[in-house]
Symmetry: C2
Subunit: 204 residues, 2 copies
DNA sequence: GCCCCTTCGGACAGACCTGTCTGGCTAATC
DNA sequence: GATTAGCCAGACAGGTCTGTCCGAAGGGGC
């Protein structure tokens, strides 16, 4: 859709590095939002539970984020940065293009095995968000980044039709996350990696 | 997980065929729940909106379904029956095993193109439901049915390792639905079909 | 004609939600 | 020492949620 997207890491903003205390109110709120929104859903978790979990006053939340929607936005942004950072780190551990592409699916195995894994935060958020809102835009950004990553890796790996292979790889990527989450089965990552390898071989 | 599951259609219960009127209160409630829950999410849609949309009194809803959770359960059951019925019909249009398997992904193309398509209802419901509840059980049933269908089709198509191919096919099946929903791109079904075909060829 | 059952429309209770506001405390800066 | 800024704790308003209950209307079986 948006072919101008790249998978460069987004700018981290005005470099708010006051975080010397190891836990400012903003950081604690974001960590609590990340934990509770991700585990139970955005609509299900109220403001009160978040500020209680964070040990922060309600006024501080509204000073820092303006509204619940602002907190949701920051939550999704941190999810975006975390996942893209993890994928880029996994890819950059290799230099051979084929290995770099498969590294994405190897990273999935680690992600699925993490304790609180509950699937893709953007999919869950989009399921309970209104159409055309802030959540949908954040999800579009996230998916465009993944798509650009796959397109680039497919091209460097020598695929004859990189955009088409990227579409198929993203289908496998999405399906693996969904299967791992719905079936509580992290081992699906190995099947996904094998499927990706087979598709790569078939598209050279 | 549950290897005793089959993909036979579930019994339709005590055959409540009083539906001669073309729109009993129960049917109108179920239709409204199907429309509103699916379009906007379960937590987002309140009882009042459903009974207003259905033209039914609140007392009737609680007489018929007992609670909102009961209505959600019936909603997911009707989703289960609808989707499994559509897939079985698509598969049974062919006799050659390979064609029968690919028919699943051809059926997806039609489903994605339907007007109100918003992805998998069970995934959306699970994203906002508590762990271990009624919604999770319904989703597990649904996914076990799909898995059994793929395993059976893979076996009849001559795969050397039917359970493993079934896992990979379900990954593609899930990923296609998710991509179609998140990217508003029904054409992903053709990429998914091609990927399934490539995996099938690679597994003979 | 009478009974029984379902349904309707709406009031109501009790809980929870977001967002605002006040008042007191602490710590850094002038 | 005074001032300013940020944070905490909690009350509060206004709205929405699920679920219960009540009186009235309608329609089929005896």
């Amino acid at each position: 859709m948006n072919e101008t997207a790249t998978y460069e890491s987004r700018s981290t903003g005005p470099a708010r590095r006051e975080a010397g205390s190891g836990g400012s109110a903003r950081e604690r709120l974001l960590a609590s939002a990340n934990e509770l929104f991700y585990a139970e859903g955005i609509q299900t978790v109220g403001i009160d539970r978040i500020i209680e979990h964070a040990g922060v006053a309600k006024g501080s939340l509204y000073n820092l984020f303006g509204s619940k929607e602002g907190l949701v936005h920051a939550y999704l942004e941190s999810r975006h940065d975390g996942t893209t950072g993890r994928l880029m780190a996994a890819v950059d551990r290799y230099r051979v293009p084929r290995r770099r592409l498969l590294a994405v699916f190897e990273a999935q195995a680690l992600i699925f095995a993490q304790p609180g894994f509950r699937g893709c935060a953007f999919v869950a958020a989009a399921a309970e968000a209104p159409r055309g809102g802030l959540v949908e835009r954040a999800a579009d950004d996230y998916r465009a980044w993944i798509r650009a990553l796959f397109t680039d890796l497919a091209e460097q790996a020598g695929a004859t039709d990189p955009p088409e292979l990227a579409r198929q790889l993203q289908v496998i990527y999405d399906g693996a996350i969904l299967s791992a989450r719905m079936d509580h089965d992290p081992s699906i990552a190995t099947s996904a990696r094998a499927a990706a390898e087979a598709l790569l071989d078939a598209s050279l």
